[in-house]
Assembly symmetry: C2
Homo-oligomer: 469 residues x 2
């Protein structure tokens, strides 16, 4: 029954080398989360479909991976129940799939987190600071850089409206990319300002159209953006009210000052947007906190940031690498009513998600993985036969108990083969000990890259450690 | 659209406290695996059903969670293709489910590992030492201690027949439970000896019946075991040939000596079992290596160990906690042909799996989780208002960059509320700083369990670290 084995399209195996890089990323991010008092949680891979359906729009519902209730789910089905009236062999596929599938694989970590908070609200002490690093699944068409299974790495605090939380997200991003030695730009927007822009235009219902158009300004230029807005039903007057925002320049406080004038009634329309002014207050306070925190990376206002328009209500974040062309590598924002869908209203939260796959590509592309990440085993003891093997077992054990990863080659094969093994695993030190070393209670160790060799008493573990360091 | 949220039966949420315990277990096990030169891999959660089906027996096939190809998989179905001949509305459910489901969630880590080795054989340098810590899914009826989603924690080496590998598994178990401070007994058997026992009885085909009967000897006694074997079709003579094995006592070498006589033709049947003798050679060599390695925990031969009879071909392992009543907490063995099912024959391997859920119960039951595992945030800075907050941001940052997990309470709420938060999160230190501290550039810190309080210059991070240690 030999088969040619393969894995489903859009999924991946991670071998030891990729795992080393991925673990470096996750461990670094996790360690930063922890220093800010965020604690890990995990939720099940499968959620009830009732938890997932309707949370990601119609398109999202189609991208949910549904799980058959059991291997023989179909034998319990009465197909007549699903027959479309007046047909002979036509069945209601949506109803049929809901009958045989009650569970689905999680699509993101946000909805399960909201579900978790509501379900466990009596055990949680708010503000609740959690992070979650787990895979999610989407039945998307697989293509380059888009997978059907991938890890998300989310950090959120829920139950606090303080902008200190926004600051700490910025600080965590700052620290993570300092540790990665990657230059980034942290872009910040505020949903209330986007609402304000639509309001001062006189088209509050067109906030999405307006934002989508503005988002293109770098690519297509001011005139084309204005043309698009008019095509979308805005008047010339509305476009003029908004124009100064599109031409914004200068420092953060200069930008805020211009916008404050516009939202305050000094635009072409003369309309005042209270929401827009509130957004500016938030942005101003956040930037004042950012000043106090001495952030190492570039932080800037970007009014074209338009992610999560359906649920973000305050700050919107996005992070881009400065020296590597790839989309955003982190993103997030504040949501005022995430848990409302599960019956717990008025829980404001803010969070950010790190894109592990893209960060991996950035670190690899910029050659930023530390060299110790790629090597695993530090020392290979060659296997010279039964007596030598028994001699080495306690030596290897002592090194391992001091944290050194070492291996004894399991067979007494030709030395060439054993060296090849060390070479392929990029093991930097080898130890070859024959009858002489055994009789003299010595251990010989050679640095394979420098060629330097040294001999130690077999109990001189400190000496060996120093040589391997 | 408020819903009462819940999760599917047999699945679990892990909150911060459980995660801390689980991470302690995984981190400890992982660190030991690494010192022995084992490297991590990860495989996709979903495998093609063709990879999974038929690998776990008929019962296992039923327990696979199948994944619908897409949300609207049913709309592409021509039901006539699945109609059972001569019926009007009866469909072949097995064929129908294979049509709409091509993928399934992995059932264990062993089959995906075999698939991985075959698929990537040209990239791997053998012997290949890998560990894998990932969830698996089984559509079992949920019950106490049995989950539909649970982590497995497997360590295997493939491509080496050396018994040094068996020794290293024993050493890793020994080290892990030393680090956990839990006394265990490591039980070892060998499939070839079980085969040998059936052979010297004259009933080589009854190896499973014989083993199952022997397994009960502690519970039901010698006579009842012999009666069961006779009920299973063994003759009185066969039972007598095997009796000395059931009465085995003394040291490991005494036990091996008695069995060597029996397998060598000195049993009541006079039959010689070459396979049995081979198994004794292996067991003897392994115990000689174990002697050389100075194992801290109890290691014993247990001929009643009968796990994995369908695939294990050499050593069989099982680990039990000595001071806590629970089933086996680790198990494994050697398999000579795991990758044969995927077209790569003659790849011998040996591995062991740590039962994380049971180990969690043992550590919890014996109160063996180190106290630092349960606490996360070390220090809470109370929030006394805007000016104090800005003063504290750089102090908190400096501590975090030195690895201290600290939080600034996000709102300037009443102190009572802030203390409650510290209490619920079991944060051991609190820092309250008002106008005076700010003007004097001081930071006050109080140890909440001893009541000891101290004041530091805000730049004296070393002093603060020492106080928090």
């Amino acid at each position: 029954m030999a088969q040619k084995p393969s894995i489903p399209k859009g999924t991946r195996d991670f071998g030891p080398a990729e795992m080393a890089g991925r673990n470096y990323i996750f461990d670094t991010i996790r360690s930063v989360f922890r220093t800010y008092g965020y604690a890990p949680i995990e939720t099940p891979s499968m959620e009830n479909l009732s938890t997932l359906l309707g949370k990601y729009g119609d398109e999202g519902d189609k991208l949910l991976f549904r799980i058959l209730n059991s291997g023989d789910a179909f034998s319990h089905i009465n197909y007549n129940d699903f027959k479309v009236d007046g047909t002979e062999d036509c069945y209601n596929s949506k109803a049929l799939s809901l009958k045989v599938c009650e569970k689905g694989l999680r699509y993101d970590l946000t909805v399960p987190f909201a579900r978790y908070v509501v379900q466990h609200q009596n055990e949680i002490s708010f503000p609740f600071k959690r992070f979650q690093i787990q895979p999610v699944w989407r039945a998307d068409r697989p293509q380059k850089g888009r997978y059907r299974e991938f890890y998300q790495c989310d950090v959120d605090v829920i139950g606090s409206k303080s902008l200190l939380n926004e600051l700490e997200l910025v600080q965590m991003v700052d620290r993570v990319f300092t540790l990665f030695d990657v230059r980034v730009c942290i872009k910040i927007n505020n949903r209330k300002i986007l609402t304000g822009m639509a309001e001062i235009c006189g088209f509050p219902e067109k906030v999405v159209d307006i934002t989508v158009a503005i988002d293109k300004i770098d690519k297509i230029g001011l005139e084309a953006v204005e043309a698009e807005m008019i095509q979308n039903g805005l008047t010339q007057e509305a476009v003029e009210a908004i124009r100064p925002v599109l031409q914004l320049s200068g420092t953060t406080s200069e930008k805020i000052a211009v916008m404050r004038d516009l939202m305050g009634g000094k635009s072409a329309s003369g309309i005042v947007s209270e929401t827009g002014l509130k957004g500016l207050d938030e942005l101003e306070e956040l930037f004042s906190l950012i000043d106090a925190a001495d952030i190492s990376h570039e932080v800037e206002i970007d009014l074209s940031l338009a992610r999560g328009l359906n649920y973000y209500t305050g700050a919107i974040f996005e992070v881009k690498a400065k020296d590597f062309a790839i989309g955003s590598i982190c993103g997030g924002g504040r949501y005022d009513n995430l848990t409302g869908i599960f019956g717990l209203p008025d829980m404001s939260g803010v969070g950010i998600s790190f894109g592990a796959d893209r960060i991996y590509d950035v670190l690899k592309g910029l050659d930023k993985f530390p060299s110790e990440v790629t090597s695993s085993t530090r020392l290979l003891f060659a296997n010279m036969g039964e007596a030598e093997l028994r001699y080495l077992i306690p030596v290897a054990r002592a090194l391992r108990e001091r944290g050194i990863a070492c291996e004894i080659y399991p067979e007494s094969s030709k030395l060439k083969k054993q060296f090849d093994y060390a070479d392929k695993k990029t093991i930097p030190f080898i130890s070859i000990n024959g009858e002489t070393e055994v009789s003299e209670s010595k251990v010989n160790i050679k640095n394979l890259s420098t060629g330097v060799q040294s001999s130690f008493d077999k109990n001189d573990i400190d000496g060996v450690l120093a040589f391997l360091a």
